[in-house]
C-alpha cells in the first residue's frame, strides 16, 4: 500500500489541497468518482446562502459526547475546540458543527461495523453544536481508537473524528476528518494520504494544547477549520 500511496502522491496537488476524487489507493473511489470534468458554474443566489440552524436545533448537552448515556464512557476524555473560518479568515458565526466517531476501542455504533472490538454501552459517538460569536466550537468526548477496514491487507485507519461544517453559503459545505498528532498510521492510510500536499495534510491534524487541557479532568486539542469556496458576501479587502 505504501508504494501505491507514494506513486499517487506524485500527481499534482488539487486546488485547495483537497483530494482527487479518483484516488486509486482508496479502492471505493473507482466507481464513485465522476469521469467527466466538473462543470464550472457561477454560484446561484441559492448557493450563495446557507441553511440556517438555531437554538431549537441543538441542545447544549449535544456537545458533550460523554453525557449521552446513564454512565461514563471508557477511554481518554478529551476536549476538542477551535474556530470555523471562511476563506478570508472571518469567523463563521452561529453555524452548525456536527461530529461522529468510533469509541475508545475503535468501534462505531453502526450495524455495518464488523470490527470485533467491544461496543461501549455508555458511548454513542455523535455530537452537535453551534459556533459562537467568534466562530468557536467546543466538544467534550473520548479519544477514538484506530480501527481496521478492508481496503487492502492489514489496513487500519488512524484515530479520527468526522466533522461536518456549514458556512454562510452552500458552496462552503465541508465534510472532513480530524486526526491526532504523531499518529504512526498516517503514511499507511489512503484516506489521509489522499491529501497529497504535506502542508494540506498538516491542516487535518489537531494540535495538543496544554491551555485547553482541563486540570484533573481532560486533555485538550485545538483544531481550526477553514471553509473553501465563495462566501455569502465577497471578502472585505480591509480584512484580508
Amino acid at each position: 500500500m505504501t508504494a501505491a500511496i507514494r506513486e499517487a502522491a506524485t500527481a499534482p496537488p488539487q486546488r485547495g489541497g483537497h483530494p482527487d476524487r479518483a484516488y486509486a489507493p482508496y479502492r471505493s473511489t473507482a466507481l464513485r468518482a465522476p469521469s467527466q470534468p466538473l462543470v464550472v458554474a457561477s454560484p446561484s443566489l441559492v448557493e450563495r446562502t446557507a441553511p440556517v440552524f438555531g437554538a431549537a436545533d441543538v441542545a447544549p448537552i449535544d456537545a458533550d459526547l460523554t453525557q449521552h448515556s446513564t454512565g461514563e464512557p471508557l477511554g481518554e476524555r478529551i476536549v476538542v475546540t477551535g474556530r470555523v473560518l471562511d476563506a478570508a479568515g472571518r469567523p463563521v458565526r452561529h453555524q452548525l458543527v456536527e461530529v461522529w466517531q468510533a469509541n475508545a476501542a475503535g468501534r462505531y455504533r453502526h450495524d455495518g461495523d464488523l470490527h470485533p472490538a467491544p461496543l461501549d454501552p455508555h458511548f454513542v459517538g455523535g455530537g452537535r453544536c453551534l459556533t459562537d460569536d467568534d466562530g468557536r466550537y467546543r466538544f467534550v468526548t473520548i479519544k477514538p481508537g484506530a480501527y481496521p477496514w478492508r481496503n487492502h491487507h492489514n489496513a487500519w485507519r488512524p484515530a479520527h473524528i468526522h466533522f461536518s461544517l456549514f458556512g454562510t453559503a452552500f458552496t462552503q459545505r465541508l465534510v472532513t476528518q480530524m486526526y491526532f498528532p504523531g499518529d504512526q498510521l498516517f503514511a499507511l492510510d489512503p484516506i489521509f494520504s489522499s491529501v497529497t500536499d504535506e502542508k494540506a495534510q498538516q491542516r487535518l491534524i489537531a494540535r495538543y494544547d496544554h491551555d485547553t487541557t482541563v486540570a484533573e479532568w481532560a486533555l485538550g486539542y485545538q483544531w481550526d477549520i477553514v471553509l473553501d469556496g465563495p462566501g455569502a458576501t465577497p471578502p472585505d479587502p480591509d480584512e484580508v
Binding site: 443566489l45 446562502t49 446557507a50 436545533d57 458552496t171
Partner: protein, 205 residues
C-alpha cells in the same frame, strides 16, 4: 501580512455517518398533507449502474414565495416555517425521498428555479454539487446560464422527471455518479478567482 488562511481539505463521509448526520424526518421539508407538497425521489447509482446504499444527499432551496429561509430550525422544524433544507441517506436500494414545495424564482436571480444539492458517499473523498431543475419552467430553463451552456443530453441530467406518487405530484431525480448518463456535477469555486488573486496579488482590482 499572513494573507488568508488555506482551506481545510475534504475527507470522505465514510460508511458510518448513520448515527452522526441523518435526523428524524430529514427528508420532510414540509409535513405530510401540506398543500402543494411534492415528492422528489430517485436512485443514486455508481459507475456500474449499481445502487449506492451509503450516500447522503442534502438539498437547499427557496420556498414557493421565492425567498431563501433566514430563520433557524432546519432540523427541529416547527411545522409552519419553511426551512428549505433536507438531508436524506439513501436506503439499501440506493433510493431517497424528499417531501417539499416547488421553489419559485429568487428575485434578482438569472437562474431558473432549482434546488441546490450536495452528494456525500463512502468512496467519495470530496462531496459533489449538482442542481435539480423542473421541466415546467420551459422559458426560465432555456435562459438559465448553466442549462443553456450544456449539451441537451447533459442538461437533461439536471431536470427532474414528473412521475406521480400516492401522495400527490412527484418528480424523479436520479443521480449517476459516474459513467453512462453521468449527472452534471458543478465546480462552484468560480468566485475563488478572487481569493487566489488575493494570494497572487495579481488579480483584478
Amino acid at each position: 501580512m499572513t494573507g488568508p488562511p488555506e482551506p481545510t481539505p475534504s475527507q470522505t463521509v465514510g460508511p458510518f455517518f448513520a448515527f452522526g448526520l441523518p435526523f428524524d424526518g430529514g427528508g420532510d421539508v414540509v409535513p405530510p398533507g401540506t398543500a402543494g407538497a411534492i415528492s422528489l425521489h430517485g436512485t443514486v447509482r455508481d459507475g456500474n449502474g449499481a445502487p449506492v446504499p451509503d450516500a447522503l444527499l442534502e438539498f437547499w432551496q427557496a420556498g414557493p414565495d421565492g425567498r431563501l429561509p433566514t430563520r433557524g430550525g432546519s432540523m427541529a422544524r416547527d411545522g409552519r416555517t419553511f426551512t428549505g433544507f433536507a438531508r436524506v441517506p439513501t436506503d439499501r436500494a440506493g433510493d431517497y425521498t424528499v417531501r417539499t414545495l416547488r421553489p419559485a424564482p429568487v428575485a434578482g436571480s438569472t437562474e431558473a428555479p432549482h434546488l441546490a444539492v450536495t452528494v456525500f458517499a463512502r468512496g467519495l473523498l470530496f462531496h459533489l454539487f449538482t442542481r435539480v431543475y423542473f421541466p415546467n419552467h420551459t422559458e426560465a430553463n432555456a435562459a438559465d446560464p448553466l442549462l443553456s451552456s450544456l449539451p441537451p443530453e447533459r442538461a437533461a441530467t439536471l431536470i427532474a422527471v414528473p412521475d406521480g406518487w400516492f401522495g400527490g405530484p412527484g418528480y424523479r431525480f436520479d443521480i449517476r455518479m459516474q459513467g453512462a448518463g453521468e449527472t452534471v456535477f458543478l465546480d462552484l469555486t468560480g468566485d475563488g478567482a478572487q481569493r487566489s488573486s488575493t494570494i497572487d496579488g495579481a488579480g483584478p482590482a
